[in-house]
Amino acid sequence: MINRRHFNKILVGSVALSFAACSSITNVSLPKDRKRVIVVGGGFGGATAAKYLKKFSPETEVILIEQNKEYYTCPFGNTVIAGINDIDYIKHDYKILESKYKVKVIHEKVKKLDGATNSVILENGDKIPYHKAIVSPGIDFKYEKGYVKGSEQFAPHAYKAGAQTTLLREQLEGMQDGGTYVMVAPANPFRCPPGPYERVSLVAHYLKTHKPNSKIIILDQKNSFSKQGLFQEGWENLYRDMIEWRSVEFGGKVLSVDPKRKEVTTEDEVVKADVLNYIPAQKAGQLAFDSGLTKGDWCPINTKTFESKLVKNIHVIGDATIARSMPKSGFSANSQGKVAALQITRLLKNKPVVNPPKLANTCYSLIAPNYGITVAAVYEAHEDGIKAIPEAGGLSPMGADPSFRALEAEYAVGWYQNQTADMFR
């Protein structure tokens, strides 16, 4: 049952003046004179999709539902942990999406999307129908081996940015010189494959400057990792013996964890940490499960449009999807958000979708503030998957001179600023 009075109140209370003028929007039923697309989740995928839907088709009503008024990016979160930037550096909001692009933003928690009635159901019981929906639910964690809900207060994962980022930074600042920073790095697949290794690099940069007798141990739940050669070359160049990486096969395998005592039991020993950065195994955000969009841990999609293979009219983008071979990165989510927006615009106008769409990804990682490395790829979406174009892409070269690394670091900052502007401004 739709509570119209409540819904009107939400809209008036949380949305900019720009749409108070459009009376049809406050009608809970579908608008008759235009199409409505609801975007759920305002991160790299969702914020981008909402903006580009309005760019491609200003006449479409676009409602972005995101529970938080502010968004903290995971990219560049590692610079905050290492004390290079303040938390405000990675903070963004939705005001320009409202004022400039006329996206209607509602800050409410979504209970689920109901594919049977094509509606978004909010936690407060309100039900908002759509013609099409885009969901960008991000990730959730698998709580296991003693890491339970609440453990993040003692052993922060800091793998969703914001309060966790600040907490890990405080713990690092509070660690004594000579202490041990232990990271548990997750098994595949997980958000941002180079992310944990960029983090230990920048933590090492902080420790080298402030607490040079400290050490870092990575207990990895896999035997290799993204840009491994480049990272290890950088660690050798900059941090020597400070970082010890243990693969799952050789000493890294975690049997259990005691987050309060900051102790990790492996097959060989109990590793005692002064700061324990435990990054759990991952799966699609809970909303994807509650909406019936998952198969196993992730959301299968039609690769050309990102429409769910399980629920019609819902398009899923970003880290929650099975979009092999694209990595779960902010750049990927942004690229997918635009393709989904373009294809939905076509579908709503009964026009053929673009076939095949092309997508891209570049991942920048900082090993130090003036030492950047990258990996890039270009993709084409085919029926049987999103394929990387073989002759394109690749890693930055091994053995490059410091000026090349400095340039890549400068481009990393340039990427972050242009990328976040592409989402929020």
Partner: protein, 98 residues
């Protein structure tokens, strides 16, 4: 000689110039915005490519693709597109108001 070959190569390409396809141009340009800003309007060190001459941009992209020009990144991306696609991308950005 190398330069002459490049000029001849570019001329050959212009002889087979594709017609502008607004939809293709738009779709192919989407991922460029992550580094170069929305519609190529960079606010950082990454080059501002909105409103760039179509010919200059196409030549630059071909030079990246064919290994005549190297950067930190662009040669890897340019190889992911056909010449016709690079031309559509160049058309697209040339039509964006600076």
């Amino acid at each position: 000689m190398k330069k002459l070959l490049l000029v001849l190569f570019c001329l050959c390409n212009f002889m087979y110039a594709v017609e502008y396809d607004a939809l293709q141009g738009k779709m192919l340009s989407l991922s460029c915005a992550s580094c170069h800003g929305t519609d190529g309007k960079s606010i950082t060190i990454t080059p501002y490519i909105a409103g760039m001459s179509k010919t200059v941009m196409y030549q630059t992209l071909l030079a990246y693709k064919n290994g005549e020009k190297t950067g930190t990144m662009m040669q890897k991306h340019a190889k992911g597109f056909t010449d016709a696609e690079l031309e559509q991308i160049s058309y697209y950005f040339s039509k964006v108001e600076r």
